[in-house]
Symmetry: C2
Subunit: 338 residues, 2 copies
Amino acid sequence: MSEDRKLAVLRAIVEDYVATQEPVGSKALVDRHQLGVSPATVRNDMAALEEEGLIAQPHTSAGRIPTDKGYRLFVDRLSQVKPLSAAERRAIATLLEGAIDLDDVVQRSVRLLAQLTRQVAIVQYPVLSRSSVRHVEVVPLTAARVLLVLILSTGRVEQRVVELPASLDDEQVADLRTRLNRAVVGERLADAAATLVLLPDEVDPDHRPSVSLLVASLVEAMSDHRADERVVVGGTANLARFGDSFDVAIRPMLEALEEHVVLLKLLGEASSAVTVRIGHEGPVQELASTSVVSAGYGPSDQALASLGIVGPTRMDYPGSMAAVRAVARYVSRILDEG
Amino acid sequence: MSEDRKLAVLRAIVEDYVATQEPVGSKALVDRHQLGVSPATVRNDMAALEEEGLIAQPHTSAGRIPTDKGYRLFVDRLSQVKPLSAAERRAIATLLEGAIDLDDVVQRSVRLLAQLTRQVAIVQYPVLSRSSVRHVEVVPLTAARVLLVLILSTGRVEQRVVELPASLDDEQVADLRTRLNRAVVGERLADAAATLVLLPDEVDPDHRPSVSLLVASLVEAMSDHRADERVVVGGTANLARFGDSFDVAIRPMLEALEEHVVLLKLLGEASSAVTVRIGHEGPVQELASTSVVSAGYGPSDQALASLGIVGPTRMDYPGSMAAVRAVARYVSRILDEG
DNA sequence: CACTGGCACTCGCTCGTTCAGAGTGCCAAT
DNA sequence: ATTGGCACTCTGAACGAGCGAGTGCCAGTG
């Protein structure tokens, strides 16, 4: 029994099962693939594969389906990322280049991923703490009320309204604006806080309470992890496609998709390579029958956040990986330019 | 045959059917409700109700279920809005008061509505064109690049980065900031554009191209209907609850929930009263078996936008209406304060 | 005249049974 | 090592019977 052919059989099983959604038998296999051997031989190979835990039969006398372990082997050794068609790549490029701001980029990416893979897509907003400050703006609203605007290198904008204990005139506000920007522009958020706390000491003691308050508010905006946890989901309608052919329960999926914390766990740590999590390998019990394909993205190849897709373990891995990788790259490029 | 009792029977049918999800027969009715008559009598009433098109039987020799027309009558004449429990009202108040900005208010409202009604909730962002300008800020980023920040009375913040044909120094920016604010603060968005177009004529001819560009960008931000169409959806997991008990197809629901344009159609024109759309009364063919309960909200009782819930026609209308009304009121109050 | 009890009738649903088909494992042969 | 053949297993579809919920109608009663 040839080891190579055994793996060829596994690959064929995965491909057929993904395509048809039905357990695949020995006869069907030799019909659809040019294996050059008889069904009986394939049966022997199958028995061996089952022995190794790579495939299983739902019940006696049914075809075989791949196990999670089988998919893992397939992804690691038997498949290569399927290149996208020229049309698809053009579609990605034009769609993403039409985006007008960060929100829009994220929005469009989700749609794109969902359409390309026909799965549920998830895109995380760039993580705050690793980006740097591009500009800080102080806007007087009334005498004792100012708006702080924090603009980050990723294009993200955070704003806070602050009530001051004492009023500031325009000149003082302008001075403050200069000082703040001198202190933090170009700094990474994680470091900026340290520089900021020294600022109140520099100014006229009369205004120290106001400045302290402003600084506190700014630091708070910088470490706002609520914003870090923002993710956008799209393509939920695709759930229905494989939803009724059950096996994958839609209920827990829908619930997970509402819990952004869970989604972040699913996406995992951002790393620029494409990551595949199959079935039980994932961190969420309820989603043991789903897989996640994700990749990090961010300007200049530092992975600021992740995006990816979630679908049943029986998915088209090569295709999904290609789509995820392509979108991640394009989004990274856009962020580089912006 | 008493007309009153006939309506009581209809009410009982609606209530039972909503509770059990199963066609209700004459026997079950007299058991569960104190109608003071025998099943046979109820059967006669039922025959009459069916004659009038208010109820129907799925097939001969099954119980009755209300028709859309039956629900309509129930909502209009047989039910009163069920008051929320004190605990529920407290939950609404505390949750919404903890919100820190407009995004957060919208986010929390959706969750709240979904939890209270156990249906899918939809909240529309306040419509731009009817709100007014609170402040405009011009932030120099580099010599020939500025950030425009537009702050609206609803708390919404829009920003645009503009590349200028010529560079402006700080003094000129400050002057521009003053002029812009003088021109539009307090104006409604619809009117502000008219005032703005005159602005370029006021300034030094050298900077006229830059100012024109800024004004154009601002006008564009003000009339950004993309932002108008923003809606947030929550509680999708609730779909699964009644999803498998068929009759309501989840597929078109999920699809509709992704199409924000469709959702806006569903919510309809914002009016401060609670509106109920039952089944086919709605504007979307595919959702003929779902109902929408919605209400407008906005500061000082002008309805800026709508929020509501979507669910199967067999829903708890009094409860849903109460929840929608309560949330709409609380959100309005929050906007009033902010 | 409104209501009631009784009764025959209609279906949809559930359950058991049967049957065909797909697929397997094993064995003897090449 | 591979193959054809064969007996065996098991699922899923098809069928039919019987049950039960529910109805409509009718004759009887206050």
